[in-house]
Symmetry: C2
Subunit: 528 residues, 2 copies
């Protein structure tokens, strides 16, 4: 009776969703009629937060930690502000999968007592609220992995990364939404669709879309995300944030039981934040804890901030040759390049990478088992459209053909790295995507981000400060060069994307994570 089974599963999903909804009561259930499309300033305009609470949620993690350590704010005051702001952001965008204010307040009070008692913060993140992508384990907190059969799992221990951040003083209070198969660049699941706070008609991105919307709407200063094709960087770009995908396995793991053993494409865990220095703080705290003592898959490479000793040369890839960036992205690229040049940074053109070849390769590597494990996990839950799309054409490999694919990947990695070196640049500046956040259901072009997952090069996304506006080029007359580009431009409409932030991407060779952040400082310095 498969129909009955599916029906029961869907009932279970509905019940979990209702349970999730029931967590938002009282002050966490704001009455918000007639929301505008742009809710990114709701924490201010709704007048639900006090003036001092608004000031708190406008700080980045570095300043938050400093303010608490210096007794300007208590941990309690900080979490109170973020709980209100997070509930607001959720009401407007559906970005939370779970919410646990009681535990968070108890934790904040304990931190305040400790600071009172010892005079010292318990660690560098003392009192800093951190939001967590749903499938990353937080002890005692119900979670899902984006599909119904995974819902309601209550881990009896923190994920490795969560445990370290907790030891450093972080306050956890919210789990954020993720899409059904994890493998969307949008966020849509049995818990609903997550919208973009800058324009609710658009996607927040994915798969860390809940993080993107929550941090973007200032419901969190810092989020833990994962990225195997763009899942940190897409949401960062779509929500005007910094997002960092390090080299895989440099930071400790967060997931358990999702894709164990599958390392054809290695996912990376990383932060989404409001500032470049928050990305660095995140990495420093994690690697200062020597996570390789717990997990021998992590290379014992301490975080060592790089100071650039010679002038930087940045290669700029304007167009990957398959889908040309749309007007606002082109203009943001040009703007950043002009600003860099104005401060004396050398910027040269960089050739299009083999996007189509890389996409074919990585798509095969994602679903070596023909997506069988995914279907098993879904356990009858009907596939959402983007799940159907990403798994279409998935081919079951045998061990021999898998070895061949993995070897092709390795050859590609070294060949491309050699090519990069021959061009004698330090880093590559590129779009994070051909366009800003798209309409819900349209995000099917991953190559600008997934290329770096295939290579396992670290890459980050930064906010340019620009948003789509009516004076941007509308590309209405653009003639597509190929069917992929045609599909992209058909779904794109400048006028429907007004207000969407534009993020760009920076990448460097594998293991040069610290150098990437050092080069990004040059860019940060020219941003408004």
């Amino acid at each position: 009776m498969p129909d009955l089974k599916v029906k029961q599963l869907l009932e279970r999903g509905k019940a979990y969703r209702e349970l999730r909804d029931s967590l938002f009561t009282g002050q966490y259930a704001p009455d918000l009629p007639d929301l505008p499309l742009d809710v990114s300033q709701l924490y201010k305009t709704s007048e639900i937060l006090s003036q001092s609470q608004v000031e708190i949620v406008e700080l980045d993690a570095v300043d938050l930690a400093k303010s608490i350590a210096q007794r300007k704010y208590t941990s309690y005051q900080v979490i109170e502000a973020y709980l209100l702001s997070a509930a607001l952001a959720h009401s407007a965008t559906n970005c939370l999968a779970w919410f646990f204010p009681l535990e968070a307040v108890e934790r904040a009070r304990w931190l305040d007592e400790q600071l009172e008692k010892t005079g010292q913060p318990v660690g560098p993140l003392h009192g800093v609220p951190i939001s967590v992508k749903d499938f990353i384990m937080v002890k005692g907190i119900s979670q899902t992995s984006g599909h119904i059969a995974s819902s309601g799992f209550i881990p009896d221990e923190d994920a490795h990364i969560v445990a370290i951040l907790r030891d450093a003083g972080a306050v956890f209070y919210a789990k954020t939404t993720m899409p059904q198969s994890i493998m969307h660049l949008e966020t849509d699941s049995f818990l609903g669709v997550t919208s973009n706070p800058f324009n609710r008609n658009l996607t927040a991105g994915g798969s860390s879309g809940g993080e993107g919307a929550l941090v973007g709407a200032r419901g969190s200063p810092l989020g833990i995300t994962t990225d195997i094709g763009g899942s940190t960087r897409g949401p960062a770009a779509n929500n005007g944030l910094w997002g960092f995908k390090p080299t895989a396995m440099r930071l400790p793991k967060g997931m358990k039981g999702i894709m164990p053993g599958a390392d054809g494409v290695a996912g990376a865990i990383g932060p989404i934040a409001h500032s470049l220095r928050d990305l660095e703080l995140f990495c420093e705290v994690l690697l200062d804890a020597h996570p390789w003592d717990q997990d021998i898959n992590i290379p014992p490479m301490p975080w060592s901030s790089v100071t650039l000793t010679k002038p930087v040369k940045i290669g700029v890839m304007w167009d990957d040759g398959v889908v040309k960036p749309v007007g606002p992205v082109r203009e943001a690229m040009k703007d950043v390049v002009d600003r860099l040049r104005a401060t004396g940074v050398e910027v040269v053109d960089y050739p299009a990478y083999p996007a189509a070849q890389a996409w074919t390769m990585i798509k095969h590597l994602y679903y070596l088992d023909g997506a069988q494990r995914l279907r098993d996990m879904l356990d009858g839950e009907p596939m959402l459209p983007l799940t159907t799309w990403i798994t279409s054409g998935a081919q079951t490999q045998d061990i021999g053909s898998m070895w061949k694919l993995v070897n092709e990947r390795d050859v590609f990695r070294n060949t491309y790295t050699k090519f990069f070196r021959s061009l004698n640049v330090d880093a590559i500046l590129s779009p994070a995507s051909p366009g800003p956040a798209g309409p819900h259901g349209s995000s099917k072009y991953w190559s600008y981000t997934s290329f770096w997952n295939l290579l396992d090069w670290p890459a980050l996304v930064f906010p340019t400060g620009r948003k789509v506006a009516f004076n941007d080029h509308d590309d209405a007359d653009y003639e597509a060069r190929n069917p992929t580009e045609h599909e992209y431009y058909s779904a794109y409409c400048r006028d429907k994307a007004i207000g969407a932030p534009i993020g760009l991407q920076l990448s460097v060779p594998r293991f040069q994570d610290e150098k990437l952040l050092a080069v990004a400082k040059k860019i940060n310095a020219v941003l408004v």
Copy 2:
């Protein structure tokens, strides 16, 4: 007509072997009637080498490099001595797969000219002869991978590791034998059986058995080997040498086209040598060349010698609980432990690791494809007995079951590492094998070495200076605890192993390669 195809293949193998044999002519074809079982001193007793040539081949690589840099010997004199000694070793043990004295002499003469001209060695290995396991590419030199279908491949470039060593001044002159499937702890192929120079009735070990016999007989100071189950360490132990299996991917690769893409168990490349300091020199030269610039699979971790700042605590595993070490090994263990304690090193008993569980796991991981790729490679060449043995029971996995196995491996790695840490020791001293080199065809117990491949922990083997003698316990009355042990003890006979060197093993957690060598210095200091 499969029979005709096999016949043609065997003809091709025979022709290649005759071609190999034809490389040894004139002074390289010594007339050696009535060889004794122990030919390890043949370089002296045969009186083919001059007194000064004997002195040369008794130096380790560090002293060789120093002597050449200080003009005590020319590179030409050094290679002349090694060419004679290598040909002698080959005549007695069948350890060479290819021999190229002309190229080597030309290279040595060029190095002498450079030193004359510039006053400087071209690098830290200026003039040091290095032998190379057959399947590791040396530009322009015919090679095999241990089976006929692979024979006669002439690479048009050096392997990465060879290129770096060449740049550092090394002189290449010989490729060394390896077994049919690579996966034997002995060395038997269409090029014949490689014997142990200390007792020609015994195996030299494998799969780097040619290296073991050649370096053991002082036909080479330093050899490049690989190890995926004990292939560096077995030959080192059997031939009274130092052998080092680093963490996988710390040193640059040597092979191409053998097991590309298969990283269920990652093989490691490493040195075999006469001294601990030669192991360190080898690693230093390779990592000082920043190989990660060429191969992004290599973590950018420079070689940084470790100085131990606090007293060392060594755990000693006397017996893995499956196959107890035989008398001479037990006695060598006890001797080393007593000597360490006498110099104040703390040594504590260390529990047996789960050898049987680990062996089951690694055997599945070796042949995820049911050994299909091996059969394809052999292309009809009949399997030798140890090939049949190691592939027996190989199960074809699908992608899902492979992910499961790889995940079990990862869980095992972290669980075991955690257990190790809970015991608070720095390193584990253990046998390299239950016994000395066995009779040809008997080496079927890999667990003392393969355990560390499964974990990807670095491990090294050191020579104790002891050899099997008639006053060792003969274990004639030992009652086996299980069928595996019964099989081992049935094949073992002390009296037939007289003269075989006893090596022991030292291991530390993943990535602690430098620490391993630092702890080994404590042991080196107490050896005779």
